[in-house]
């Protein structure tokens, strides 16, 4: 039975109907006429890659953004939800990816926060709060110790507290944004039990994820999104991870890149058993090994948050290593500083342009000098050589078509695409032996994307070893010579772009090994 698209007279049986939702951000069309139909009492999964527009859609349902176009109907009634208060009033609750809890307060205090029971209309009534929270927790089978402090309990329990918070406020429709991203497999199992319990109690649950096995395990219906559009609506029983992967990553390769045949040269970068922790001190890269040769592009595919950014930062000396070695052009750079690494001619297009790759308050000229500002020809004897800085910047701005071509402009006044061109120009001008390129085209328009792709290929022609980290499978597939897939800090397998299908890649990104993915995709 295919997915049933309800008629208007059926809307009253649907907890949520979103019709023709359009949301335009300054440079991205985040939602492009999106329709979503969630039946009352079902668990509905929304899947898609990062940047597909899932969270944007849910944030509109929760009143964090207002839609530019489209309608939202709750239980058949057209409503305008302008802020989370409106959403809570009609029974919508949202559990965000990042928890909004107060560490030193107890579970009960956190749950009632913002809507506390009071004595004599002004004093907080802790006894009543504890009682109330206990009651809800027993009613829905969500076990928590109401007197524990948030900072002392596990992430899985904190999530439970977040869910209880929404229930305390009377939510009938629960939105969970990537709820399993922070959970261990066991905690994920427990969460699923909780979700099924809630469903049995008549709650409607919307569940955002990009992990396909979870969709299959827990949902009734699925809506698939890609690039701001809905690419599939299907009952879970009618589909397979393979089909979902197809809908999620899309079949057509949008961009054609002409890549000439080329034999890679000698080994330039060799990473062995690299271990890196994330900001919380938890292992993010768990013993990764690979090598890149001259004139070769190694692509790293994977869903965001699987250790790629930690790997990127570790390679450039921006993050401490917990184990393993990095050998670059005969030099051990495992514990080298960023300056030493750059001196050894490794350059870097950072995923987070605003955080790392530019000083937005500096002029374009000063940004072009970043990392080279202390040496010839940019400086001499400790003094900046403004004449050379300006001349070189002018040259680069022209060569890389940064617009407007005004080097005294502050970088924050450029558009995203031109900022990225500025960064690419500088890192290119390092004449690197190896370049770490991460998310080079995120948020850019087609023109800028093509320009950056052709620049990367030019580097390849010039025998530079390139590590390309990207969430865009199209980009990975069309540029890379070899691809490795990262999942939860480990390498799931290595493939050649012409010997792998999108669904196999999608499955590996969702945690299957190459062999599992092969057999599952060909069954």
């Amino acid at each position: 039975m295919p997915f049933h698209i309800p008629q208007e007279d059926e809307y009253k049986d649907y907890a949520v109907v979103m019709k023709g939702i359009v949301k335009q951000f300054p440079r991205v069309l985040a939602n492009d006429h999106v329709d979503l139909y969630v039946k009352r009492g079902e668990i509905h999964a929304i899947v898609g890659e990062n940047g597909a527009g899932k969270s944007t859609l849910m944030n509109q349902l929760y009143g964090l953004y207002n839609a530019d176009e489209g309608q939202i109907l709750i239980n058949g009634e057209v409503l305008s939800i302008n802020n989370p208060k409106d959403a809570i009033a009609v029974g919508i609750g949202m559990v965000h990816q990042h928890f909004m809890l107060v560490g030193p307060l107890t579970v009960a205090e956190n749950i009632v926060l913002g809507d506390e029971p009071t004595k004599m209309k002004s004093f907080f009534d802790l006894a009543k709060a504890r009682k109330e929270v206990k009651r809800i927790s027993e009613e829905y089978g969500l076990k928590v110790d109401v007197d524990s402090k948030i900072e002392d309990i596990s992430v899985g329990t904190q999530q439970r507290v977040e869910i209880l918070k929404t229930l305390y406020r009377g939510a009938d429709i629960l939105i969970l944004d990537e709820p399993t991203a922070v959970l261990t497999p066991q905690e994920t199992e427990e969460l699923f039990v909780v979700l099924r319990n809630l469903q049995n109690d008549g709650k409607t649950i919307i569940f955002i994820t990009h992990k396909l096995n979870e969709v299959i395990a827990v949902s009734n219906n699925v809506t698939v999104m890609r690039g701001g559009k809905v690419t599939g609506q299907i009952p879970t029983s009618e589909t397979t991870p393979r089909e979902l992967a197809n809908m999620m990553v899309g079949r057509e390769v949008l961009l054609r890149v002409e890549k000439e045949k080329k034999e890679p040269g000698e080994k330039t970068l060799e990473v062995t058993g690299l271990k890196v922790n994330d900001n919380r001190g938890l292992p993010a890269v768990k013993g990764v090994s690979f090598e890149i040769r001259k004139g070769e592009i190694l692509g790293i595919a994977g869903v965001a948050g699987n250790g790629q950014s930690e790997l990127e930062e570790a390679l450039m000396g921006l993050r401490k290593k917990e184990g393993g070695t990095i050998n670059f052009n005969g030099l051990d750079i495992t514990s080298a500083t960023p300056r030493v690494i750059r001196e050894a001619r490794m350059s870097h297009i950072a995923a987070d342009r605003f955080k790392y790759a530019m000083v937005k308050e500096f002029t374009v000229a000063y940004n072009m000098a970043l990392g080279r500002h202390y040496k010839q020809p940019f400086a001499e004897g400790g003094f900046l050589n403004h004449k050379n800085i300006n001349a070189i910047s002018k040259d680069l701005v022209k060569k890389f078509d940064v617009r407007p071509p005004e080097i005294q402009n502050t970088a924050e006044n450029l558009s995203g695409g031109n900022q990225q061109k500025m960064v690419v120009a500088r890192e290119f001008d390092y004449q690197p032996l190896c370049m770490v390129v991460s998310q080079p085209t995120r948020g850019l328009d087609i023109g800028a994307i093509e320009f950056i792709h052709s620049t990367i290929l030019e580097l390849r022609r010039e025998d530079v070893a390139i590590l390309l980290i990207s969430m865009e499978l199209d980009e990975i597939l069309s540029l890379s010579d070899r691809i490795i897939v990262m999942y939860e800090g480990e390498i799931m397998g290595e493939v050649k772009p012409n010997e792998v299908s999108l669904e196999e890649l999608g499955l590996m990104m969702a945690g299957s090994t190459l062999e599992q993915a092969r057999s599952e995709a060909h069954e």
């Binding site: 921006l318 960023p338 300056r339 690494i341 870097h348 955080k355 500096f362 000063y366 990392g371 400790g382």
Partner: protein
Amino acid sequence: MNKKKWMRVAIPIISILIALLIASIIIIWIGKGSFAERFDFLVKAYTEMVKGAFGNKTAIMNTIIKMTPLILTGLAVGFGFRAGVFNIGAEGQMAMGALTATIFAVNAASLPSFVAIPLTMIVGMLAGAVWAGIAGFLKAKTGAHEVITTIMLNWIAYNITNWAVTDPFNAGGGIPKSPEIASSAKLPNLLTSQASFMSFGILIAIAAAVVIYIILYKTSMGYEVKAVGFNPYAAEYGGINVSKNIILTMAISGALAGLAGTLESIGLYYRFYGTLSSGKGFDGISIALIGQNNPFGIIAASLLIGGLRTGSNQMQFVGVPKHIVMIIQSIIIFLVAAERMVMTIMGWNRKKGAK
């Protein structure tokens, strides 16, 4: 870009005008008689203030003496701001610089002036640099916030210096003060008028502003300091040692404050009284704000505040309380700090969203 530069100058000037306007209202309000009489009173008050600050040679000298330490503490705080550190401890660094420099200068009798004076200044700057460097080191290595550590160091400095001039380094006579410094270490005078004198400390302060300007705008070091201040992540990405720059910035900042204390000791009092600074270290914060952290802006701001304070004495003679000047100063700082407010008043607000 150009517009931004222009606004950096315009905002303090407009703030000053608004502050004067508000002060005028207060002065008219406290005046007596008809409106015309009150208006005369206002004109008289401002005339006296300007006379008091710049009306004769002695007045000008007093204004310059007041502005000299303000330039240096303003530079100290402003330079720190450029690297994203808030040195609230100029007060303590100034006191430590003055104490150490005075101890050296008291014992410098055997040295000729051209050695004793520069050496004394170096000693004072080093003491300030070390004192601030402690906070810089703690921030770089442990993440301890410099606002907290420099405040605490202020108290330590306050008590050390007070103890020093009352006990081991006391000149006798029951007053907490150090012995007089050797005459070879005294700064020569640039101007004298009747009984008052003015050392050439002002030239040293202006020279310091020029040096800081060159560091900030012409050197790789200034580039690094600003990069760390704007975006420490990008600085690190560009191979800049963020910890080193934070410590260095604090040390330079402290050296400037230490120099401020040293000049007070060797150019004005010829000894150290323990609590010499009377808030000049904290004034540095206001000066840096009004001067928009630009060395030349800081000189202008010091001239303004120095002039207002000197002029306020004269204004008192016609019956306007001295505190009016504090009110004017506070309103200026308030408006400069809340520059958005000035922009709103002037209708310069633009959409700031869309990022």
